[in-house]
Amino acid sequence: MALLDVNRLTVSLTTKTGTLDAVSDLTFSLEPGRTVGLVGESGAGKSMIGRTIAQLLPPGFAVSGGALMFDGEDLVTMAPDRRRALLGRDIAFIPQEPLSALNPVLTIGQQFREHLDHIGKGGAGWKDRAVAEMEAVRLTDPRGLLDRYPHQLSGGMCQRVLIAMAFASRPRLLIADEPTTALDVSVQAQIVRLIAEMQERDGTAVIFITHDLRLAAEICDEVIVLYAGRQAEYGPAEVLFRTPAHPYTRCLELAVPDVAGAPRGLYLLPERMPGLKAIAELTGCRFAGRCPLADARCRAEEPALAEVGAGHVSACWKSFATEAIAPPQAPDRVATGQEKILEAQGLTKSFVTKWRMFRGATLFHALKSADFIVRDAEFVGVVGESGSGKSTLARTLIGLETPTSGALELLGRDITGTDGGTRDWRQAQMQIVFQDPQSALNPRRKVGTIVGQALEVEVPRPAGAEIEARIRQLLSETGLSQEMVARYPSQLSGGQKQRVNIARALCRLPRLLIADEIASGLDVSVQAQLLNLLLRLRAELGFSMLFISHDLAVVRYLCDRVLVMSKGEIVESGATEDVFANPRHPYTRSLLAAVPKGVRQPAMTEAST
């Protein structure tokens, strides 16, 4: 008998006007030792299952139908005492944000002890048990870690501590909600391998929630693709990834660029996933509005899950035709000019970490002698893990930090000076697009005034009508509708905010854009739209860009050249295709190896058998 049996589970939100389903008729079962992946974009309802089991549903949401059987007991109707006894002991969780899941004011030891007490393994000798659990997840010096606080540990280490805690009770079911999203790729690979190892040791069943189809295909036995709260497709991971039957799965896969293989375009899913309200008003297939194969029947009748192969089901009328969805042509490469836009020579930035009288300062070298050139209409990618100095490079180039030494020339003019004239000129020629659109847009300004902000201080100040016209032009260039002018940032979606962010930077037609992780944290379909927008804007306006990202596939799709950074140094640089096809530096190779490719790793296949 299956350990977890989810049968037509429906979770709905009750509002004044009625009930809206966030998850409808979710059905799957999970055997001990197996892994099921829940994949989908934000809003697909993939986190709801974990929240239902933990009884952590957001206010207003409740299970309105179906059963959630854990080892023969229904978790939905179970007495709260019984559920508390199961949670943390038989059912364990690994959260998305390791740093916020640990209490910052308690040491790792205190938190570990609390957990051991809860699962009945506390008491004398808890320390040895905690150390043994931490050794199992290959944390070095676990005894020393017990006295440390979470902020003294890296994200990867925190996640290991949480995994050690989760597996301390030898759980029968583990729910991992995007456990690696906040981590670097190479750390992600280690964490994923670790979960698989622990799973094999204890025969644990795992529900792995992720937005990354490739990662799911690599580590899961079965994958469920969710769309707007409904199962679109369910099947063995490899089959589902190689030959997807549902058009949504196919489009999702084609919306993400690859790190290897022939260059291709990104499939652009139009618009967005319908919200809860829109779903309730839909009659046919929920994906019909965005589906390239949709016809009249799709819009009228909702398809049920139908078998398309061994253990492989798909909720689509046209599963057989899915293969026909082809990726678009690779975008045309714009010929880059020869003119040097930006030239950095020996650019260095050091921070004083400690300063003592008579002994001088202790320095941290965030950027060690960087040399590079950005040419006309060229997109240069900067890749590296967190802490590699990517963001320091961006802040130094734009002038938020003053370089410690080195030369920096913009269009042949030295811009290391800080006098007003140089600053104004630099700001007109070079602009930055910040990473987090939430923080980069003033919540109290309307979109129109944000976009036209740069013109407010131009001397002489342009006429009102002129500013207005420029705002409208920028909005249409970045694919935003004209009525956005009067909206506030909080009324926009993540992708729209990022477009506003770009429009503001382009206001005075700079020659160079610095983009700091602007595509991360967005859903894949939104990311694809954004990347294509940048390519189109370059073709229209002809600017250069320094594109900082941890996502190698995105850099490969977008950039002509790439700089690989590690520990403040540029360790490799060259034309993107060359670097990705023949990485020379071991660091580049390890970065590329850590990217999920949708193929089961040999070590992991072993682990799951």
Partner: protein
């Protein structure tokens, strides 16, 4: 327009505003509202009880004090002093404190260090003693009371606002504004001030309540306005002698102070709840 006045929907704000509106009316129309001259002594009618007690008289609705002065008239006239001090004292403290807070929080570094140390030294003086010393040095008078309140209480604004300014100044949109060529002045007034304004208004409202209390303390010990001007603290001080024969002469001014401070505080609390985005974000989302 409906959206602009959303904060008027809060019950706390309405309550606070009504109390304050009542006070403002009392202060503005004191000569017409007061039944008697507040300073006129009537030796034949000392310690007359309020009308609802036996021996009460409609000539003096709330009775008279030990010198035969009308309590109601004195309370009505006393609101003039209380409100003037509340408005100008709080306004002055707010301007001084918030300007320094924005400078410290925005520029950081040594500027922040210097302002932070000044605030700390300032806070190490007990506020009541400091204001008494100031009043002794400056002499009695309405302007000097206001000055004393500003000098003592600006630190409150500076401390609380500085941390808010620091949080906002670290947002990327502030950096973006600088990079688009905004001057420091424009960045602070256009990008930071709108975000700190809700806190500023809230603090201002609370500070008005504090100013009323400080003025009462000062006038209680006879260091506020001169003895010829009616003030609530002074009334309490005068009533101490007859506390057993005529408790109302003591209770009524205390009640006036209580209601006034309550009005400012509940307004401040209501504004904090409706204007502070950190509290309302989850509700409105």
């Amino acid at each position: 327009m409906e959206k602009r006045f959303f904060w008027l929907r809060s019950g706390r704000v309405i309550t606070g505003l009504s109390i304050i509106a009542l006070l403002v009316i009392c202060a503005l129309f004191a000569p017409w509202l007061a039944p008697n001259d507040p300073t006129e002594q009537d030796i034949l009618n000392t310690l007359v009880p309020p009308v609802w007690q036996t021996g009460g008289d409609w000539t003096f609705p709330l009775g008279t004090d030990g010198l035969g002065r009308c309590v109601l008239s004195r309370i009505i006239y006393g609101s003039r002093i209380a409100l003037t001090v509340a408005v100008f004292g709080a306004l002055g403290a707010m301007i001084l404190g918030s300007v320094l807070a924005h400078i410290a929080g925005y520029f950081g570094g040594w500027v922040d260090w210097v302002i932070g140390r000044v605030v700390e030294i300032w806070l190490s003086f007990p506020p009541v003693i400091l204001s008494l010393i100031l009043m002794v040095g400056l002499g009695a008078g309405l302007q000097n009371v206001i000055l004393a309140i500003i000098v003592v209480d600006w630190t409150r604004f500076c401390r609380v606002l500085r941390s808010d300014v620091m949080v906002v100044a670290r947002r990327d949109y502030v950096a973006a504004a600088r990079l688009l060529g905004f001057s420091h002045w424009r960045t602070v007034t256009r990008e930071i001030l709108p975000a700190t304004l809700p806190l500023l208004i809230t603090l201002m409202s609370l500070e008005m309540g504090v100013a009323v209390v400080v003025e009462a303390i000062l006038s209680f010990v006879g260091m506020s306005v001169g003895a010829e001007v009616p003030a609530w603290g002074q009334m309490i001080a005068d009533a101490r002698a007859d506390i057993y024969q005529a408790p109302w002469t003591l209770i009524l001014p205390i009640l006036a102070i209580f209601v006034t401070v309550f009005g400012f505080n509940i307004l401040g609390d209501g504004l904090r709840r409706t204007l502070d985005t950190r509290l309302t974000q989850t509700e409105r989302a």
